[in-house]
């Protein structure tokens, strides 16, 4: 047997790890994962293998065609709006993927680029300054200006570690929000009178829509197609870049910056390039944003938007273009669904049950836990009902301050949970608050519990989670949604840092 036909080398033994198996990032862990996927007969394994076999360009074409046909298949304004929003997010996520996914840089000022572009477009095409540039001039200008901004921001940090880039960009993002919010009375160091540069907290409105070939784009689906078109171009161009020496250099510097530098790659210049390219994509997205919403506002470009786009990229899989697209779709759809209690309720219970089914093995344990949870709920309900009648007279929420008692789910929940009447009185907030804190503590305890104690702890945790959900979280969706994003990021990093479609990485420790 000649050398070329020898079986693959076995990976070298990892440094002595501990109890819970090889640690994230070491050779052994990654090698084992590939084995697991190859051998896995479960659903996830099969799906992964299936997805891996379909060539990416085919997926891309299918995706583009499907999205392009959405306005043809439906004229429901709500669906169209959600689709267009999602497409814009997809574009954003694709741009962020360059710096975070390919070059491994933490660019936390990305949303400031997005906002800068949107505002610049607004200033060039609105009554604010009275100028109305034509689209073919304003969009490239905005993109160019944003790229320059990206360069300028990354320039001072190029010689330092990625951590410092993170802080400077984060700071910049914060400053951008301050600037846009206070830009109504902007005073250049006391000289001259105050200017209204950014319209302050109310933003700039009456921004011109795009005009393409003399045609004014005023319909929602127009912007869906524009964003889709932008995405197609960006995706192609970026994929080509990724398969070239630049992409390779980005991947090298992500793996080992020092070694990349010594192997002839100008690391600082490459880092600048990654941030600038990302900024360019954000620039395009910003221009589209300004035209589509016909207005720009400071609150759209703050920390929450940053966390959202990061959650999309990380969930989908940083470094994988199809991954971030999937991540963007998933997160945005999730956020949409969570807006209305009736819909989000289904998602919540679905996730809860899937989690149980997936994680609690064998079947007997699962049955025990389910039975335990049901019993627990009924018992608590009975006790509370006897002691505090108002505590169980409430109903489940169905929208802004509406409650419903109809439907089989409502009936189950009313008897299984403790739903105090008037949950949204101030006095009743406190029950929910204590419950929330207790829930957090229980979840943390669950992650360290072992064996039987884990199942025992699971029962009250699940019940409490449903309780908190129904009485606090479900209605305050404007807080619940961001809260969930934070949780997603934390959990992803601990459990599956490569996201859904990324490849697990080995780290030089």
């Amino acid at each position: 047997m000649s050398e070329a036909q020898q079986p693959p080398d076995t990976p070298p033994t990892p440094p002595q790890g501990s109890d819970a198996g090889p640690r994230i990032g070491s050779d052994e862990w990654v090698a084992r994962r590939e084995d697991r996927v190859a051998r896995s007969h479960g659903l996830t394994g099969q799906v992964e293998r299936l997805v891996a076999r379909v060539p990416q360009w085919a997926l891309f074409i299918v995706f583009v065609v499907v999205v392009a046909l959405i306005p043809v298949m439906t004229s429901d304004q709500y669906v169209l709006r959600v689709a267009t929003d999602t497409m814009l997010w997809i574009l954003l996520a694709t741009g962020l993927n360059v710096a975070v996914g390919w070059a491994g840089l933490l660019d936390l000022g990305y949303i400031a680029f997005y906002g800068f572009a949107a505002y610049l477009f607004a200033e060039l095409s609105s009554p604010h300054y009275g100028i109305h540039w034509p689209t073919w001039a304003s969009v490239p200008t905005v993109i160019g200006a944003t790229i320059i901004l990206g360069f300028l921001l990354a320039l001072p940090t190029r010689r330092l570690s990625g951590d410092y880039l993170a802080i400077v960009t984060l700071f910049f993002g914060q400053m951008f929000v301050t600037f846009t919010t206070q830009g109504r009375n902007w005073n250049w160091l006391g000289f001259g009178s105050s200017h209204d540069i950014t319209g302050g907290p109310n933003g700039l409105t009456s921004v011109d829509p795009f005009r393409i070939f003399g045609h004014q784009l005023t319909q929602v689906q127009d912007y869906l197609w524009v964003a889709l078109g932008g995405f197609v171009i960006v995706a192609l161009v970026l994929t080509f870049a990724n398969h070239s020496r630049t992409g390779r250099a980005w991947r090298s510097l992500r793996d080992d910056t020092l070694a990349a530098e010594v192997m002839s790659m100008p690391v600082n210049r490459l880092m600048l390039l990654a941030v600038a390219v990302g900024a360019g994509v954000a620039g395009l997205a910003g221009a589209i944003n300004g035209a589509y919403y016909q207005g720009v506002f400071p609150t759209s470009f703050g920390f929450q938007t940053l966390i959202t786009v990061y959650a999309m990229v990380i969930l989908g899989g940083a470094g994988s273009l199809p991954g971030v697209v999937a991540g963007a779709v998933l997160i945005n759809v999730l956020l949409e669904v969570l807006r209305s209690p009736d819909h989000s309720r289904w998602v919540f219970y679905f996730v809860l049950i899937s989690f149980l089914v997936a994680k609690v093995r064998p079947w007997r344990a699962l049955a025990a836990v389910v039975a335990g949870v049901a019993a627990f709920g009924l018992v608590v309900h009975a006790i509370v009902g006897a002691v505090w009648p108002r505590g169980t007279e409430g109903a489940i929420s169905s929208g802004v301050f509406g409650f419903t008692t109809h439907g089989w789910l409502a009936v189950i929940l009313r008897h299984w949970l403790v739903l105090p009447r008037n949950t949204y009185d101030v006095a009743n907030y406190t029950i929910g608050n204590y419950a929330l804190v207790t829930l957090i503590a229980l979840v943390l305890a669950l992650t360290v519990a072992q064996g039987v104690r884990r199942y025992v702890l699971l029962v009250p945790t699940i019940w409490l989670a449903a309780f908190v959900w129904e009485t606090r979280l479900i209605e305050e969706s404007s807080t619940t949604r961001p809260l969930l994003l934070g949780v997603i990021l934390i959990v992803l990093m601990a459990v599956r840092p490569q996201g859904l479609f990324g490849t697990p990485r080995v780290e030089v420790v």
């Binding site: 000649s2 050398e3 070329a4 693959p8 080398d9 076995t10 990976p11 070298p12 050779d27 990654v30 090698a31 161009v237 970026l238 080509f240 870049a241 398969h243 070239s244 020496r245 630049t246 992409g247 390779r248 250099a249 991947r251 090298s252 793996d255 080992d256 020092l258 070694a259 990349a260 530098e261 010594v262 192997m263 002839s264 790659m265 100008p266 690391v267 600082n268 390039l273 390219v277 490849t503 990485r505 080995v506 780290e507 030089v508």
Partner: protein, 263 residues
């Protein structure tokens, strides 16, 4: 007598209060194989780091092909023709074997990102050529890094193959001076023998000048035209292997005082 390809004069470096390299003079002639030996902490890797530009010397000059390279960024020094490997391997573990080598051709390709984005002819041509070149570099090691191995991630390689890959990657930068930091570390006798032959081949077939840090005296004996011994950052001996190996100061550096007297 040819001009030295690498010339160090009076080079000194301190970290904090510790003087790691002190008044070092060193000449390396073209196509020579020079080994640098010395006990741990003698400053050998620091020497490599100084030459490859990871930090700058406090005093002295470093000239490559008669031009000073002090103050240049590491990638610029590499582009001038100096490549190195690392004592603790520093491969791009998540990239494939072939990609590791192609990555190092960056300095010799010119396609800008714009050209790559638009798939202009130059960028496509350079891609093909770099891939070809990488295959040639890998072929140097026989069949070990060929065929199906090209697309395997670097983290799946055995230790010895990783060392080989790192050398292949370094040669992909088209260096004139190749610096190998403990190439035989952790290898068994068979592999060590191979490496010894390999280094000779690198010089003969590749025309490289080679500077090697090594602890294994069999290797040093087998490859060196000249040996330089360092101790506590100071050059204590220089010459042929026989001369240096028996030099009392070298023996003292490795084994301590008292032994030298007995010789």
């Amino acid at each position: 007598m040819a001009d030295p390809i690498l010339e160090l004069r009076g080079v000194g470096k301190s970290f904090g209060g510790l003087r790691v390299i002190d008044q070092l003079d060193l000449d390396v002639l073209p196509h020579e194989i020079v080994s640098v030996i010395g006990p741990n902490g003698a400053g050998k890797t620091t020497l490599f780091n100084l030459i490859s530009g990871l930090y700058g010397p406090d005093t002295g000059t470093i000239r490559f092909e008669q031009e000073s390279i002090v103050g240049l960024a590491p990638h610029q020094i590499t582009n001038r023709g100096i490549a190195r490997t690392f004592q603790t391997l520093r491969l791009f573990l998540n990239m494939s074997v072939k990609e590791n080598v192609i990555a190092a051709t960056y300095g010799h390709t010119k396609a800008t990102i714009l050209e790559s984005m638009l798939r202009l002819p130059r960028s496509r041509r350079e891609e093909r050529e770099s891939a070809q070149f990488a295959e040639e570099r890998l072929a140097f090691f026989g069949q070990r890094l060929m065929g199906y191995r090209w697309n395997q991630p670097a983290y799946s390689l055995s230790y010895a193959n990783r060392r080989r890959l790192e050398i292949a990657r370094a040669t992909a930068t088209r260096p004139k001076l190749l610096m190998l930091d403990e190439p035989a570390a952790g290898m068994n006798p068979v592999e060590t023998h191979e490496i010894t032959e390999l280094i000779g081949q690198l010089r003969d077939e590749g025309g490289y000048t080679i500077l090697v840090i090594e602890h294994d005296m069999h290797v040093v004996e087998g490859i060196s035209d000249r040996v330089v011994a360092l101790d506590h950052g100071v050059k204590v001996a220089e010459g042929t292997f026989e001369a240096v190996a028996t030099d009392p100061r070298v023996v003292e550096a490795y084994l301590g005082t008292g032994t030298a007297e007995r010789k």
